[in-house]
């Protein structure tokens, strides 16, 4: 009996052993609930949490270790989208206004006609400084607008090879012509500062719209309020683009990435507004007003032109004393043959 009991116990133990041995491999083949990749860091997750992509590098410039950051994406939005809109509205808007104005108002004529007597308005040095600044401005404007708009507007027209050659030359011109431009702005500031301080006469001139509509001729000294506005736009705008431009030309000389981004924003916005303002200046100095271009072209203006547009200019009194007020007869700008 005891032997039978022992044999039964041995049999039960063997059966249990076999059952356990069979279950364990089965259990090992079941799919595990642990996902080994769940704990791994995903790049997208990092980007969403940290809002930046950065790592380590071997070159000394640690700024290069940051590949992407929120401020960079905002700056990209500015210079790829907003600046394009600001520039297009400013420049094209000004062109549209000038075209409409010329078609409706036409050229502002010398009402009394030309007197035939010319008086000196700008001497040789003044004209030299103006043309040095103006010529540089035109080249800087075209090359600068190419940086913003060239890829979208010019590249499809002329193709990549011509566009890259043009852009390379434009970039060099933009950088190196900045120096004569900045010099010109500084000279203009000192040269014409005395005549461009605003005064009460300018307030009255502005109230009467400068006489640009109708036949009004508000009084003005050597420079009227419109010219003073152009002067200060050139001085302040020129200083802004020059300073921000040199920050961009000498990258990270004491500036951070944020500083460079700010410099580019200032440079871009001021530059396109500057271009728009100068379009108005070019208009009024060429086709907008009879006798205006001669002032900077030859340096002299007609006496009647000066009397109508700058009646308080001291030089008029000098001329009047030399020739006498009664000797000046106005000739109509289009005199029929008699």
């Amino acid at each position: 009996m005891a032997i039978l009991s022992a044999r039964i116990q041995l049999l039960v133990a063997a059966i249990l052993f076999l059952v356990c041995a069979a279950v364990t491999p089965l259990a090992a083949q079941q799919p595990t609930s642990v996902n080994p990749t769940a704990e791994a860091v995903k790049e997208q997750q990092l980007l969403q949490q940290l809002k930046r992509i950065q790592g380590l590098g071997s070159i000394p410039d640690v700024k290069s270790y940051v590949i992407e950051q929120p401020q960079g994406r905002e700056w990209r939005q500015f210079h790829e989208v907003w600046l394009h809109w600001i520039g297009a509205i400013a420049v094209l808007g000004m062109l549209a206004v000038l075209i409409v104005f010329y078609l409706t108002r036409g050229m502002v004529r010398i009402e009394a006609g030309r007197s035939g007597i010319n008086i000196m308005r700008f001497n040789a040095f003044e004209r030299f400084v103006h043309w040095m600044t103006a010529t540089c401005f035109v080249i800087l404007a075209l090359s600068g607008l190419n940086i913003t708009f060239g890829k979208d507007m010019l590249l499809p027209l002329i193709g990549p090879s011509a566009f890259s050659s043009w852009s390379l030359a434009a970039k060099y011109a933009h950088d190196y012509l900045s120096f004569p431009f900045a010099l010109g702005v500084i000279l203009i500031f000192f040269m014409w500062l005395a005549g461009n301080i605003p005064n009460r006469v300018d307030v009255e001139w502005l109230k009467r719209g400068g006489g640009i509509v109708g036949k009004d001729h508000p009084a003005a000294y050597r420079f009227n309020a419109g010219q003073k506005a152009i002067y200060w736009i050139v001085v302040i705008g020129g200083a802004a683009v020059a300073v921000s431009g040199y920050v961009l030309m000498f990258p990270f000389y004491g500036t951070t990435i944020a500083d460079m981004q700010l410099a580019q924003i200032v440079h871009g916005v001021v530059a396109v507004l500057f271009v728009a303002a100068m379009l108005g200046h070019i208009y009024i100095g060429t086709i907008g007003m009879e006798g205006a271009f001669e002032a900077m072209g030859q340096g002299t203006v007609d006496f009647n032109w000066a009397k109508e547009h700058h009646s308080l200019w001291p030089k008029l009194k000098e001329q009047n004393l030399r020739t006498g007020p009664g000797e000046l007869r106005g000739k109509p700008s289009a005199t029929p043959a008699e």
Partner: protein, 58 residues
């Protein structure tokens, strides 16, 4: 007209002069933003590295 021509001449003189001045002051980016141990282009292979070490590979 003479004032305009003089201005153009001044632009060329100042522009060319600034090119030479800046060339002496500034380094190419491949030199300014790299070190002897990290090169970014074939032009920098000879930058400060003795000729005997050239061609040993990375």
């Amino acid at each position: 007209m003479r004032a305009f021509l003089a201005a153009c001449l001044a632009i060329v003189v100042i522009g060319v002069g600034s090119y030479f001045v800046l060339s002496t002051l500034q380094q190419p980016t491949g030199v300014a933003y790299t070190s002897d141990g990290a090169r970014i282009g074939p032009m920098e292979l000879t930058r400060g590295i003795p000729a005997a070490q050239g061609g040993q590979g990375d």
